[in-house]
Amino acid sequence: MNCPEVDRVIDAYTDDELGAAEAAKVRAHLDVCPACRQRVEARASLGRLIRRVPYYTAPDRLRVAVATVRRPARVSPQLLAWAAMVTLAVSLGSGAVIRTVRARQAATATTAVAQDAVASHVRALMGAHLFDVRSTDQHTVKPWFLGKLDFSPPVDDLAPLGFPLIGGRLDYLSGRPVAALVYQRRQHTINVFVWPSSDSGETVTDARTLRGFQVRHWTRDSMTFWAVSDLNDIELDQFVHALYP
């Protein structure tokens, strides 16, 4: 290749869009032509510079708006499956089927709580009401719940780990008042819902994605936790791990 030929494909070469054979020809020319080498390098350093300009990330409210773009309501497949199971259980009267139904009932209940938690997260972000107490100080947020709830939620500030506490509020979930703690990661909001658990054991974290939101659920020290965010799954797992190492 000569200089004009290299010039014709210099962008494709820089962008790694040339076939292997052609790229090899370009490289052979670059080995012997400092001028072309310099032009390739100018493009590479321009690219490095461009990749430092701001990357505009979508604001939370846009994410919520997109996640809640409405479509027609329909009968949920879960409800249909549930109805089918009940019919089957009644017609057979078998213990095994009833156990299956109970297990399914428990799973459905968990799913219902997860849906409640996501709905609450979305409501808080869409509407005006993300905070009752706005503070980055755990010693302000924790006492605020005193007298408002019949339990004291654990409140940790995870700012040193990149998840600053920004406040809390009272919320209503799963048929009872709960504590909602609000954390932040960049422009992303994390809602953590806490209430006493009927189960004293520790459970492993349950991870799921619901309507595009990441949801984590675990039980620890007789408390039930639900964390909801539009953060990506890896960082939300880091958050959960930071909260309960």
């Binding site: 100018a42 321009l46 430092r52 300009v53 990357y55 997109v66 539009d230």
Partner: protein, 176 residues
């Protein structure tokens, strides 16, 4: 359950959609409007998405939405708003002086990109910030790959000329 699948497909690419719209419109508010409208369209056309690349598909809809809203009325470029540099990454190993110089260079290149005609601006954004292949860019902007290549080449020549006015098109020196 097309409903759930829609969110699972679209939300992971929402930042890309917003970034692209933001560079097209140069306004936070307009970019939000465009992406929100695009989401409504995307939902309507969701069944048309087969096994294609969802990101390129969404970016195509963003571009069409933007075009429908702004290009015809001819004020796509009229907004000039404050830009924060919140997402600027910097090299920790650089000393303060070099960092300051680099920051200035980044700011200059940002302004230079904003001043590019939108045909050039968008290929730079799609290539350098989104890392799309020529083929994907061609799909998003509905142009042949040859056009993508020549627009990228011309956009870079312009940027290099702005960043280093002393050099001719042939030989811009080290920039950063």
């Amino acid at each position: 359950m097309p409903h759930r699948a829609f969110e699972e497909v679209v939300l992971p690419h929402l930042d890309a959609a917003f970034n692209y719209a933001r560079w097209l419109t140069k306004s936070d508010a307009d970019a939000e409007d465009v992406v929100q409208d695009a989401a409504v369209r995307a939902l309507r056309f969701f069944s048309s998405l087969r096994n294609d690349d969802a990101r390129a598909w969404l970016l195509t809809i963003v571009r069409n939405t933007w075009y429908a809203r702004f290009s015809k009325v001819g004020h796509a470029d009229q907004h000039a708003v404050f830009d924060d540099m919140k997402d600027e990454r910097s090299d920790e190993q650089l000393n303060p002086e070099a960092l300051a110089i680099q920051r200035q260079a980044v700011e200059r290149v940002r302004r230079a990109i904003e001043q590019l005609p939108v045909d050039f601006r968008e290929v730079i954004v799609l290539r350098e910030l989104e890392g799309l292949s020529y083929k994907e860019i061609a799909a998003v902007i509905a142009a042949p790959i040859g056009t993508v290549m020549s627009r990228l080449a011309r956009a870079r020549e312009r940027l290099l000329a702005i960043m280093d006015p002393e050099s001719t098109t042939g030989g811009a020196g080290e920039l950063s």
